[in-house]
Symmetry: C2
Subunit: 236 residues, 2 copies
DNA sequence: CCCCAGAATTGGGCTATACCATTTCGCCGA
DNA sequence: TCGGCGAAATGGTATAGCCCAATTCTGGGG
């Protein structure tokens, strides 16, 4: 092994990101693919793969015959699979949890179907009120197949469930979400400290690991006054 | 030129898509990269680029040392930049428009800022009630820089504004959206034929062309009872 | 002075090859 | 019979180079 464990792609990527962050204004031309290849002692294809990635992320755009250019700075990050904890930290808020409970129950029809297991199979149901800087933002019900999560999670639930799953080799790689606009019933509204019938998001999420196994089904209610959903979309 | 205008990637992609659609069950193993390369007379790198794309789209997943596999069928398509018209057609509904008006007005602070033009610069404001199978679903306000869209759009507004823009070489390539949950005020509720204070989505969108010029600012109100937001998210 | 044709430049697509990292599977020995 | 080890197979990363397509630059002619 080298003293450098990372590949040329990673180094090139970091170099380009620092260029984009420090030196280049939007619509400035980047060095040409051929010159980057020479400078880094890499092949042009390697350079292209790195630029492909940056283009997909919306950081650069390319014009055939002309060059590669820095994109306009983005207001919102491209849609990513993030946990509540990561999401809040990205917004500069301190994530936490209140009113945590966990229990093992039969999956039932809806959760069983979503997780691809029998309705009578046991799931671990985690119910949490998620907070940002101590204020309730989201009422969340997570259902995990019991078979995948032995034992009790306990104190880990105050933090990030995704980070806990990753520790078990169950890092979510893909999630399907359905987002609905709704209003809060009085009981849920009280938990979130807002008036009954306030507007809210209902997010239904199923998360899958790299092999496509469903590892989590979650239903989350977000206060509309404190939460908006931001995303950047690209057309192929 | 050949009689075949398309490259090997395109042919390979179509072949793999038909495999995924007709022959392969979820988690079935695809042919190996090396065998596909040989079968199609292509290099392995070309095969990999096509598989990279399919992997990003969530249609296949790869396991190093093992193979490439068909993904679980997806409930929702990956988030894409689609017009209302495309979105509704994808759901099997017939898109249309009611109560169309267009006018040229000063951009104002919010729209001007979003479009990156002067608040006093003129924009074309298009207001439409969008329908699916004749039923009102969405109340939409689009603002386009006047400089980019000369003349009047007229009857074109009954159909897809994006398709109209594409005809002017202004096809949106990227859009930033903020989605909020809200309730409808009485006037908007009446237009959408629902009760006042019904839940709804407020989608604020700015669309950009390939060069990063803002080509549209839109504010849309969607009926929550008839519209949900579905997306699939991938973690890099 | 302007315009246009052709050269130079730049990204797009592809080939052929090499070696590394991880997983799988069969063979061999205990 | 079972366990483990190593070879084989598979995806991951990278090289060097070719030609095409689109854009940009440049110099000569009107």
């Amino acid at each position: 092994m080298n003293e450098e464990a990372e590949g040329k792609s990673a180094r090139l990527r970091r170099h380009l990101l620092s260029l984009l962050g420090d030196e280049l204004a939007p619509h400035d031309r980047l060095p040409t693919e051929r010159s980057l290849a020479e400078e880094f002692g890499a092949s042009r294809l390697t350079v292209r793969l790195v630029l492909d990635q940056l283009e997909r992320e919306g950081r650069v755009y390319r014009v055939q015959g002309s060059g590669t250019f820095a994109s306009e700075p983005r207001i919102a990050k491209s849609v990513e699979l993030t946990s509540f904890s990561e999401d809040m930290r990205a917004r500069g808020l301190r994530p936490g949890s209140l009113a945590v409970t966990e229990e093992r129950i039969p999956a039932g029809a809806e959760v069983g179907y979503a997780l691809g297991i029998s309705p009578s199979a046991e799931v671990l149901h985690v119910r949490r009120v998620r907070t940002a800087d101590g204020e309730p933002i989201c009422l969340e019900h997570s259902y995990l197949p019991s078979a995948l999560v032995p034992g009790t999670l306990g104190e880990a639930l105050r933090g990030s469930l995704y980070e806990e799953l990753a520790g078990h080799g169950l890092a979510p790689r893909r999630a399907e979400q359905t987002i609905r606009a709704t209003v809060l019933d009085p009981a849920d509204a009280r938990e979130l400290r807002v008036a009954a019938f306030s507007p809210a998001f209902l997010v239904q999420r199923t998360a899958y690991d790299a092999r496509g196994r469903a590892v989590e089904r979650a239903l989350s209610l977000y206060r509309a006054d404190r939460y908006s959903y931001e995303l950047t979309i690209y057309r192929d």
